[in-house]
Structure formats: structure tokens, C-alpha cells
Symmetry: C2
DNA sequence: TTCATAAGTCACCGATTGGGGACATGCAAG
DNA sequence: CTTGCATGTCCCCAATCGGTGACTTATGAA
């Protein structure tokens, strides 16, 4: 899920590669580019084919339509979450792991416009192809985070999955709001200061949630 | 911002009211209904006029187009956040107020499909008319919450606006995710149990954020 | 070299979109 | 009663949409 290696609005001189796999890949990357640039409302056969520089008919021949193309995109997990997991000290506490994991993911998400557009899409529409895309993305993400938490467990009495979901949801929302509105709930997300306050608030909540409970201190 | 008092797909027998203000209001309410039912991707002149049961030409005559209609919707703050503020004990602590306020808002948001659609819209697209709509909504919300927090202040050392923004963002995201995907980050949001875990996690975070700091305990 | 087949292109279809011009009609002022 | 005007309706427009049939052309096997 990166902006795309090859900016491939067809060169009119080159006589088309006549290589099915290559053009199919080109269509997939074009779809990602269109999604990143113009959002899901513009993600149609016409736009994708124009971006890829070939005829839209090939979308139907090779993928059976846009739904099939999206499905193929979901299966190609290599395109998702390209960044390697962040380094972690051996015996790091659960809260520490969640904190660094969250900020690493935040940085990756901020740089991945297509992923942002996909998240917004998931919130706006329902539909079978979208569900499959989300399932693939969720699975990849789950694996990414799962491997990083292996061997450490949250403090007792804390519903860690629910708390983590809340923090992740907040991160998603504010990242999307930053791009589209630039501000949210009175905070200016466009400025580095606003962004810093947000990151600090997230870190603060992680610390309070997974640090020692108030009554634990002697 | 409620589903609409009058389900007004024109009665073919009644010969049209010939009342400019009434039809203008009807168009606004129709727009809200279309937004709630089909989402912002379907919110066009054709759909709104069909829903209102009159000709789309009137949208251009009375509002100058869809953008003007949306702007008028924003100015009509009476349609937003109809619910009255929840009751609060006199000397309630800041954390308590945030908690009850958050859950009251959550309940209202869950029941207001049009507002949900609007939030998703704001995350998906940019544009002048949308910005004005959001500004109106944000202002109304700010007043709603502002009045309820008057006279109490957060614990020192806590960036309350940022923390509240995070919690609110999480609430928004999970409410939208519940409607569209039904699940998020491994949590099943459709079941009452999942919803309860989420509410509990939010309350837990509020408590930890605004309760006594770990080192405060003797 | 021939030739079947797949890769690619082009032109077209019906439906729907966001608009606007031309016209009918009811109401209220004269 | 007549007349002016705002209200409402109808029909048309160009553009775009998703989708497909018919065609050309390159390539690899015989």
C-alpha cells in the first residue's frame, strides 16, 4: 500500500508491453494511485484504466470487474504495511510495547495516503468487496502487532484488547481528520504543535492505562 | 439532525403546496433523509428532489445548487444535537463530567444516522461546503459541552483538550466502524457484549486519565 | 512460414448525472 | 375581473458512468 513505484500514465510512443501479468499488476498499482490521489468516490474502471494507460476492458477480462480487482488487491498483502516492525528491547513491559507500536504505526499511516483513503472508505460504505479488503488488511495488521506483543501480557484487570482498540480508533480518526479537515475538537492538527499534543495525549493514556494502578502505589 | 418528522415522498394526488418556505424546508429535510439512508455519495440534486417530491430545479432557484442547500443546512442549528444535556450533580469532578458527557453523546450519536454519515463524509472528502457544515456542527457541539464543563477544571499536568479529543475521536471512529463493518481491531461491535466492553474501556481511560495520578497515592 | 490464440484497442450502448431553458398555473395586488 | 409574478413542472442538454461486442495485432508453437 505505497503511492506506487512506477508513475505509469502510458507513454504514447511505447507500443504497449503485451504482457498480461505486467499489465494486471499495472492496473492494481493504478487503482492504488487513483485511490490515494482522488479517494474512493473516483475509483471506477474508467479512472483506473486511464491511470494505468490501457483499456478498461482489460479490467473485466483479467479481474472480472472492479470488485475482482479490489479482491486481488486484498490478496496481495505485500502491498500493505510495508514498514518493518520497530525495534523493541527484550523484556519491555506491555505498556511500553503498545506505546512504541502505536507511534510506529501512526508514522506509517500518516505517510500512506492510500491506506487512509481505504479506512475512510470502510467507514463510509458497506459492501462485499470492501469487507474482503478490510479482512485482508485487518489480518495483516493483526499479525504485525501480534508478533510484537508475543511474550508479554497486560496488567491484570485491564481489558487490553478493548483499550487498544480505543487507542487505535482514535489514531485512525485523528489521522483522517488531519488530512481532510485539518482540525478536530478544537485542536489544530495541521501544526507540529497540535500533532505533538496529540501524540503526547496518546502516550499519556497508554501510560496511565498500563502503568501502575493508582491504588497499587504503597 | 434527526431522521425526519415527515416522510414526504410526494402524494401524487395533492397538487403541491405552492409555499416557497415550506418546500425549501422540505428539500432540506429530504437532503438529511437521503444522507441518512444512502450516504453522501448519493446526495445529489436528483436524489434530494425525488425524495422531497418536487422538481430539482427548485434546488437551484432557492439555494443556488446543492452547495447552497448544504450551507443552509449548516445554518439551521436546530436540527443538530437535539438531545438536551444530561443531568449532572452539582460539584461533580472533572473526570466524572467528561465520563457522563461522553456516554450521553455516544448514545445520541448512535441514534443519529445522518450525523454519522456526515462524520464519515468529513473524513472522506474535502471541500468548501463541507467545511462550513463541519464548522457549524463543531460550534454547536462545543457549546453543548462547554456549558456542561463550566465551573470545573481538569487535574493539573493533564492536557485535557488533547485527551478529550482522543477519546472523542475514538468514540466517533468506533461508532462509524460499528455501522459499516460491525467489527474493529478484533472486537465484535455488533453484539451488546462488544459494545459494553468498549464503553467500559472508554470509562476506564477517563477514570485513569482524570483520576488520581499513580504517584499521588501515599 | 503458418496460424491459433491471447493481448490490446476502439466504438458503442443504455443509464444516470448535474444543470438550465421554456412553459404552465395558482395567488394576490391592482 | 384582470394581470403580474412567483411557484412548480416538463423536457432537453452535454458529460460521464459502468459494461460489452467486434476488431486488430503481436507472439509462440507447430
Amino acid at each position: 500500500m505505497s503511492p506506487a513505484p512506477t508513475p505509469r500514465p502510458r507513454d504514447a510512443a511505447t507500443p504497449r508491453s503485451r504482457d498480461r501479468d505486467a499489465t494486471a499488476r499495472g492496473l492494481m498499482q493504478a487503482a492504488i494511485r487513483v485511490l490515494a490521489r482522488d479517494g474512493f468516490t473516483a475509483l471506477g474502471p474508467n479512472a483506473v484504466a486511464a491511470e494505468a494507460g490501457c483499456d478498461k476492458k482489460l479490467i473485466y477480462r483479467y479481474f472480472g470487474g472492479m470488485d475482482g480487482l479490489l479482491e486481488s488487491l486484498g490478496e496481495d498483502i505485500a502491498l500493505w504495511l510495508a514498514g518493518p516492525p520497530p525495534e523493541l528491547p527484550e523484556g519491555a513491559a506491555y505498556g511500553n510495547r503498545i506505546g512504541t507500536l502505536l507511534s510506529a504505526y501512526a508514522e506509517g499511516l500518516r505517510g500512506d495516503l492510500a491506506l487512509q483513503r481505504l479506512l475512510a472508505w470502510e467507514l463510509a460504505e458497506t459492501g462485499a468487496p470492501l469487507r474482503k479488503l478490510d479482512a485482508a488488511r485487518s489480518a495483516a495488521f493483526g499479525q504485525w502487532v501480534g508478533g510484537m506483543l508475543r511474550g508479554s501480557s497486560p496488567p491484570a484487570g485491564v481489558d487490553a484488547p478493548a483499550v487498544n482498540a480505543v487507542l487505535l480508533a482514535a489514531l485512525h480518526y485523528m489521522t483522517l481528520a488531519r488530512r481532510s479537515m485539518g482540525r478536530f475538537a478544537g485542536l489544530d492538527l495541521a501544526t507540529p504543535e497540535g500533532q505533538a499534543r496529540l501524540d503526547a495525549a496518546l502516550a499519556f493514556l497508554v501510560d496511565r492505562a498500563y502503568g501502575p494502578a493508582p491504588e497499587d502505589a504503597p
